[in-house]
Subunit: 385 residues, 2 copies
């Protein structure tokens, strides 16, 4: 890929500004948007920085310049990436091996609160914010109220900008390249890890900065795994092999899921897998502005039940996508969301019965009349003789 | 690799048993060993399960069978991997997109504590244990004391068993294969990500289950990054390109770091990089039973200072390795540790001055007379014409 799309410095600046306005409505003096290596979305959304080994947070205080809070070892890495100029190193964001860095003199949370006084502190990434850091906040800002501020950040993240959509489109195109490489090289006797290697290599060579998640290849008795990792199991003929593969481009992650059968397809699988493919197409056709997430779920799950595979359903037919391949919100039977244009979702039909399962997955951009499909290559029951 | 070493079911069972004995000394009724996708060590140590998207914990209560606590979507994945038979799904370990799974009826922490009553609860993974889950524990087990139990788990993890050493040896051998592939294909004009792809692909095709961390390639102005990720920057001649590359085998992660220069080497880099290589060799020679970590640090850092590069030091000359490429303890000037046979470390010399830096890294097993080097391939200043 020659022209890799990215988010402009101006858009990063606007994200901080918009957040400061929303914080005023919530009477928040301070926001800490927290991230880890495997959950980078909050920090990367504001700063483009993606922590590795260490953790990080972005500090936003209305009327003041924001700061990126990182661990002791990442200063040059963060300086090379961060769209937020001010970078502060804190021991609380060090890596899990917990080095002491005996010669370094880093500021404390008290120093932070001296500069950014706060009576009401919001935390984004609430469900993963460490208790150990939380306790340090409580001690350094006695009497301050600390609240879950995920909703503040989510209302910005949920609708994508033109640049974000371009990143997702590019990520999906590169994911298709990965799928093509797998389909051209897959054969009985390769291990699941080797299949994952083919796709990973093709995406990294094709312009991805990373994979959105480790590529999965689930074969035979592993095919009923909705979440997985590839193993050294050798793939065989006449069994389901499903791959979930996704590239990350400038922080945005796509995903494609396809079931594949090598050799002859057992007759009893045909109807099962075709039902999944039809459910995927049905869901995509329903991802329109004004549609209710709960209605879409009922319609898709109703269709799957009508085909006799109701017990094979594990979760709702779609979930948000953006920086994380799977981000808030999930589309489920009790989701209050009404779809709006430029929201983005992974339509994700995973079905498993007994020891056999598979996933069809493709990204969509919600549209007024028709959803834009981010990927569609070989959205079918793929049998390779 | 034909015979991939692994940890036996019996060894997993013994780890739980030994932990239960240590818990009695600490008067712990219950241990929760917590993990995330990017920090899998605690959970994998006891169960071989590696969470993905979701988080997880292993519950150990002396006199009772242990349980693996997972999120709602991972049951088939966990069942296929876990060495702990009992698996319990809890909403608190769901993924960050926070689906509701409206049809599922999962137990609560009150149900857990009804079966495993506890007055004193230890948490391993203390620094990353989420405040949100912690608050739920406090509510479900009122009056119980909750304490940091990292030290309990670490005293088991720090000395490696023969099987663990074999996993690390295999991981290092496969990491060397990755380095060989990079050295045979690297050329000016490749991007850092493309160099990382070469190494990643070679390791996954060579028997790794995954990389131990995303392969780094830091070139030119990025070379001063101790922690990093590869970018789309094209590597050039006459600049430092350093790679950090490591395979994961059956949960155990190795790492190799090497600086490479394409074309002619600028004269002023020769002494800088050779000092790093000499510091790496010096450290390895000192990793002997009975040696004090603080003394080793002083000796190695003293050597680097004596060569005029004291200001290029960022951290201590080594850190623990095992499941995490970087695990407790760090070897620093104030580390109280005395080395013992079969402890394992990554000797990790990272030096950066101004905009230029590099890393030499190799794993070692502490020995009585000589440390066993896990890797050594091209531990030199590599210039490729």
């Amino acid at each position: 890929m020659n022209n890799i799309p990215a988010i402009s410095n101006e858009e990063f600046r606007q994200r901080v500004e918009k957040t400061a306005l929303l914080m005023a409505e919530e009477k928040l003096d301070l926001l800490l948007a927290f991230s880890t290596e495997s959950e980078p979305a909050n920090v990367r959304y504001y700063s483009d920085y993606w922590p590795s080994f260490e953790t990080a947070a972005v500090l936003i205080a209305p009327g003041k310049n924001p700061a990126l809070l990182i661990g002791p070892e990442s200063l040059t890495y963060a300086s090379g990436r961060s769209k937020i100029e001010r970078i502060i190193r804190l021991m609380d964001f060090r890596e899990s091996s917990q080095p002491n860095y005996p010669d370094s003199k880093l500021p404390s949370w008290r120093d932070i609160f001296a500069e950014f006084p706060a009576r009401r502190i919001g935390i984004a990434g609430w469900h993963m914010f460490p208790q150990a850091i939380y306790a340090n906040l409580v001690e350094a800002a006695p009497g301050a109220e600390i609240v879950n501020a995920d909703a503040v950040v989510r209302q910005l993240m949920i609708r994508k900008s033109p640049a974000e959509l371009d990143c997702l489109r590019a990520a999906a195109k590169i994911s298709e390249q990965g799928l093509r490489a797998i389909l051209s090289e897959i054969k009985p006797g390769l291990t699941e890890v080797e299949v994952a290697a083919i796709g990973t290599n093709a995406m990294l060579r094709g312009g991805a900065e990373a994979t959105g998640y480790p590529v999965w290849c689930c074969s035979g008795s592993n095919s009923n795994q909705a979440i997985s990792r590839p193993t050294h199991r050798k793939i065989g003929t006449g069994e389901i092999v499903h791959v979930s593969i996704g590239a990350k481009v400038s922080g945005y992650s796509a995903s494609i899921g396809r079931p594949i059968i090598l050799g002859h397809c057992p007759a009893d699988l045909q109807d099962f897998i075709e039902t999944g493919c039809a459910a995927e197409n049905l869901t995509i056709s329903l991802m329109l502005s004004g549609a209710k997430a709960a209605d879409v779920t009922r319609q898709v799950h109703g269709f799957i039940r009508s085909r006799g595979f109701g017990d094979a359903i594990l979760y709702g037919p779609a979930h948000g996508c953006g920086q994380m391949e799977c981000e808030y919100p999930f589309v489920e039977a009790n989701t209050p969301l009404v779809f709006e244009k430029d929201m983005t979702f992974m339509v994700d039909i995973f079905l498993a019965q007994n020891s056999r399962g598979f996933r069809f997955e493709d990204g969509v951009i919600v549209g007024d009349d028709v959803a834009e499909e981010l990927s569609g290559y070989r959205r079918e029951f793929i049998v390779i003789d």
